[in-house]
């Protein structure tokens, strides 16, 4: 690995391939890595996710390996959900909180073996993991740089993997895990993703990364495979209703101003909080919140018109009751979607609210008061996402 003073940003093990594919040479920084914002045209990349297959390099995602006799107990104390329900060979979504019951981050937990887990997170969380490990017999290793990862997402993704030679991959259930020998090592495949579509995530040793990329793209040649950047993924995840740390909530350790962090209840993640399991960090505060009520409610809004309600105020009866955290025009669902946080007494399903949208055309700002309705859940939710065996093309 290069020293930090030799390169401002790190390259992922796929970089040689990505740089070649990145026609517009447009890059972003993600946790110290250089990653493409887009390769060609954001819309084309987006439609690859929805109509064929998009490939996204998620190597910079923080990956922590948690092993040892107390690994399960440790994770159960860390996160708010009951980890015992994530069976061997399965993946689960989880959030973890500080003592005040405020969300520090969300992530996925891979149950790799008996008392052997991988935690994937948005934030760097090693310090918190180490503090949380006091009294537990576990080892925690940051393996971010030791595992290269690609998300392969879209209706033809299963077919791509099949034609790459991954026998039986179509039988993998959503949130399932499986392994294949690959080159000098192993290829782990999980049926997970951030697009709300049929899709997989592929995990390999860095030395096999380029080989994986090549095999994948050659297998997908006739199945519309295409590398995608952060911008297209952002559209897909809003359409699919996924929260993004740092956007839809401020990780509590990064929040400077009091009251700016959120609890799982305030993010609509009640289903991730279990009071029937052993002590976890934030439990006391969350119980109290459950009793006394939350400050905010997280809502999905279907906004009238086609102007994305980015950063809009949400009004009710002329009074400001909340703000939008994420918003996008969603091409597949053909609707204008926003995630908003409103005062907890508002936001019942079906309630009509107003989004105060500002947008600019050639230096002129325009204000629109757009009607919006609170909807039950994400609008993009195709059956193929859940079908097993996965549909082939």
């Amino acid at each position: 690995m290069k020293q930090h003073d030799e390169t401002m940003l790190l390259a992922t093990p796929f970089h040689s391939r990505i740089a070649k594919a990145c026609e517009i040479n447009q890059w972003d920084e993600w946790k110290g890595y250089t990653t493409p914002n887009a390769y060609t045209e954001v819309e084309q990349e987006y439609f690859a996710i929805r109509n064929s297959t998009g490939v996204f390099d998620l190597t910079p995602m923080m990956k922590y390996r948690i092993q040892g006799p107390d690994a399960e107990n440790f994770l159960n104390r860390l996160v708010t959900r009951d980890i015992r329900k994530i069976k061997l060979g399965r993946v689960g979504y989880a959030v973890w909180c500080d003592e005040a019951g405020q969300v520090m981050d969300d992530g996925t937990i891979f149950h790799l073996g008996d008392n052997d887990y991988r935690l994937c997170a948005y934030t760097r969380v090693m310090d918190w993991l180490m503090w949380s490990a006091m009294g537990f017999d576990v080892s925690i290793v940051d393996e971010t740089a030791e595992v290269a990862a690609l998300a392969v997402q879209g209706p033809t993704s299963c077919s791509v993997l099949r034609s790459m030679g991954l026998e039986g991959i179509h039988n993998l259930k959503p949130f399932g895990l499986t392994d294949y020998p690959f080159g000098s090592g192993q290829l782990m495949v999980s049926r997970t993703g951030f697009t709300g579509d049929l899709g997989y995530e592929l995990w390999v040793e860095p030395q096999n990364a380029e080989d994986l990329w090549d095999k994948l793209f050659s297998a997908g040649e006739n199945l519309g495979i295409r590398p995608i950047g952060g911008a297209a993924l952002e559209m897909a995840r809003i359409e699919a209703g996924f929260l993004q740390a740092g956007v839809d909530f401020v990780p509590s350790e990064e929040a400077v101003r009091p009251g700016r962090s959120r609890s799982p209840f305030e993010l609509g993640l009640d289903w991730l909080v279990s009071f029937d399991k052993p002590i976890f960090t934030g439990r006391k505060a969350l119980r109290k919140e459950k009793e006394l009520g939350s400050r905010y409610k997280f809502v999905y809004l279907d906004v009238e018109g086609n102007k994305p309600a980015e950063h809009s105020f949400i009004l009710k009866g002329g009074k400001e009751i909340g703000t939008v955290t994420s918003a996008a025009w969603c091409p597949t669902a053909k609707s204008n979607i926003a995630f908003a946080q409103v005062e907890s007494k508002y936001g019942k399903i079906g309630e009509l609210l107003i989004a105060e949208i500002y947008y600019q055309r050639e230096l002129q700002w325009t204000r629109v008061l757009a009607n919006c309705r609170v909807i039950e859940g994400p609008i993009f939710n195709p059956p193929r996402r859940r079908q097993t065996p996965a549909p082939m093309f």
């Binding site: 500080d98 918190w128 006091m134």
Partner: protein, 524 residues
């Protein structure tokens, strides 16, 4: 062996003096209380130890100088056998040439002190007592929470604020300035005589992991001087050793119907999720109660008995960060006669004797501890209680007890091979002031902080169950977020020196805790 009993309202883990005080008040309020003590004797650090045939000594704390008079009278300790063999003793700073300085309640003499120093001492003493009195306001009650809008807490804060104001501009300014600097600088400001400066410093660093130049030592001094507010004009000697206080507290508790089991070591505090359900002894015996009060130090309680796994990460972090590194050892000598301290009259030998010739001597002694070594020239606080209480030793013989600083708990290379050389070094040091004492020794023992930890079940061998310093007092004691004696575990309370107001044989932690527990019981 499982013997599930639910006969008690409250179980107290540890029969140290604060546990006994707490039990007394709880029993007084009608609670059925059980005390489980790991050791054979009660009183915790207030204990008497027969370390040689017919020679007994206070095994840990050897002076009584802070016992709350309120606690003593509420519990009728005199009626239950507490007797002082001597009180209002002087502290004598020993000089090798016999030119000692004697500090009395309100004055100082000897050592060729200048009139200026004598005056300065009176002024200093007067001001410090004023400050200590202010401190006492906050010590008689639970530490206030700063954010919760509670009337009791606001009263405490208002009283403190008013007390500060009443000090007057000059004193208030001084308090704010002095509290944050170190005792070394304060001594330099006030006095010329080095022996006097060093002797006062000793009270700022006794029992702590600090040297004269460490911040918080002025607070340490004020804390020590609380005794004066409680009517002690200098230390007292308990007849029968400090264990007699433990016994008086225990008798008084049993009189009130408290059940006490000794040699009953609690191995585990049992929980149902976040609620306490009882305790299990190391023998496997179970006891159930809705309220468990721990007299053990906060680290032992939460790390060993509750277990970090059963607490939220934030609490775990704060508990593991409590500073409690013991650095005081205890030397006990059985002597076949009265030691001959040069320049001391017979009656003076029963006073508190200090060996700390200069502030730099103390600082250098502390330096060793900082780097994991014991002091080559340690600081000593010596008591010869048999002067006042002949029953402690055979006729004509004596016992000597010395607090020895600094002896770090985590000694480089461990204590096993160092205990004997260190003991000999300390004896050698005393011999320089009391020539011939070496030949008078019938038996001797040195208890290192590691031994004290094992003997009295206190983490780090720290007497105060956590350093007494500004970052660990009041609402920050034992750690932020666990004040007012409750813990994050519902029904689990702390009543020991680790809780507000802190260590020293004072009894206030136990008393204040009882008040909160009674209130909690009513609300629950």
């Amino acid at each position: 062996m499982t013997n599930v009993q639910s006969l008690y309202d409250v179980i107290i883990v540890g029969g140290g003096h604060n546990g006994l005080v707490c039990a007394n008040y709880l029993a007084k309020s009608g609670r059925k209380v059980l005390i489980l003590e790991a050791n054979e004797s009660l009183g915790g650090a207030a204990t008497t130890r027969e370390f040689a045939d017919n020679y007994s000594i206070s095994g840990c704390a050897h002076w009584l100088f802070q016992l709350s008079p309120k606690v003593a009278s509420d519990l009728g300790l005199a009626k239950h056998g507490l007797k002082l063999a001597a009180r209002n003793l002087n502290s004598i700073a020993l000089a090798e040439d016999g030119n000692h300085i004697t500090m009395k309640g309100d004055g100082v003499e000897g050592g060729g002190l200048s009139e200026k120093d004598q005056h300065a001492y009176q002024r200093f003493n007067y001001q410090m007592l004023k400050f200590s009195k202010l401190l006492a306001v906050a010590f008689e009650r639970r530490a206030p929470k700063l954010l919760d809008n509670n009337l009791t807490d606001r009263m405490t804060l208002a009283k403190l604020g008013l007390g500060m104001k009443m000090l007057g501009k000059e004193n208030m300014r001084d308090l704010l300035r002095l509290a944050l600097i170190n005792i070394y600088d304060v001594m330099e400001e006030n006095f010329d005589n080095e022996l006097l400066k060093a002797a006062i410093c000793v009270d700022g660093v006794m029992g702590s992991y600090m040297g004269p130049r460490s911040p918080n030592t002025v607070f340490g001094y004020l804390y020590r001087r609380l005794g004066d507010v409680y009517g002690f004009k200098g230390p007292a000697v308990v007849e029968g050793g400090m264990g007699a206080l433990g016994n008086a507290l225990a008798t008084s508790a049993m009189d009130r119907g408290v059940d006490i089991q000794t040699k009953a070591r609690v191995g585990k505090i049992n929980l149902s999720l976040d609620k306490v359900t009882g305790v299990t002894l190391t023998t496997g015996e179970d006891f159930r109660a809705k309220i468990v009060v721990s007299n053990a130090d906060p680290k032992s309680t939460l790390e060993k008995l509750v277990g970090f796994k059963n607490l939220e990460t934030g609490v775990v972090r704060r508990v593991s960060n409590i500073r409690m590194r013991g650095s005081a050892a205890k030397l006990h000598l059985a002597l076949n006669g009265m030691p001959n301290f040069g320049g001391l009259t017979e009656s003076q030998k029963g006073q508190r004797l200090l060996i700390a010739p200069s502030m730099n001597y103390i600082e250098q002694a502390f330096n060793s501890a900082k780097y994991g070594e014991y002091s080559i020239a340690p600081v000593l606080d010596i008591s010869i209680p048999s002067v006042h209480d002949p029953n402690l030793a055979p006729a004509g013989a004596h016992v000597l007890s010395a607090i020895v600083q600094y002896a770090p708990h985590d000694l480089k290379g461990g204590w096993d091979s160092a205990r004997e050389p260190f003991k000999n070094l300390v004896i050698e040091r005393i011999n320089q002031y009391a020539p011939g004492i070496k030949e008078q020794i019938v038996q001797s023992e040195l208890l290192t902080p590691e031994d004290l930890e094992g003997e009295f079940n206190m983490t780090g061998g720290h007497w105060h169950h956590g350093e007494i310093s500004l970052d660990q007092i009041m609402m920050m004691r034992p750690f932020p977020g666990a004040s007012q004696y409750a813990t994050s575990v519902s029904g689990l309370f702390l009543c020991g020196a680790g809780a507000h107001p802190g260590g020293g044989v004072m009894g206030l932690a136990g008393k204040n805790a009882a008040k909160e527990i009674i209130k909690w019981g009513k609300a629950a």
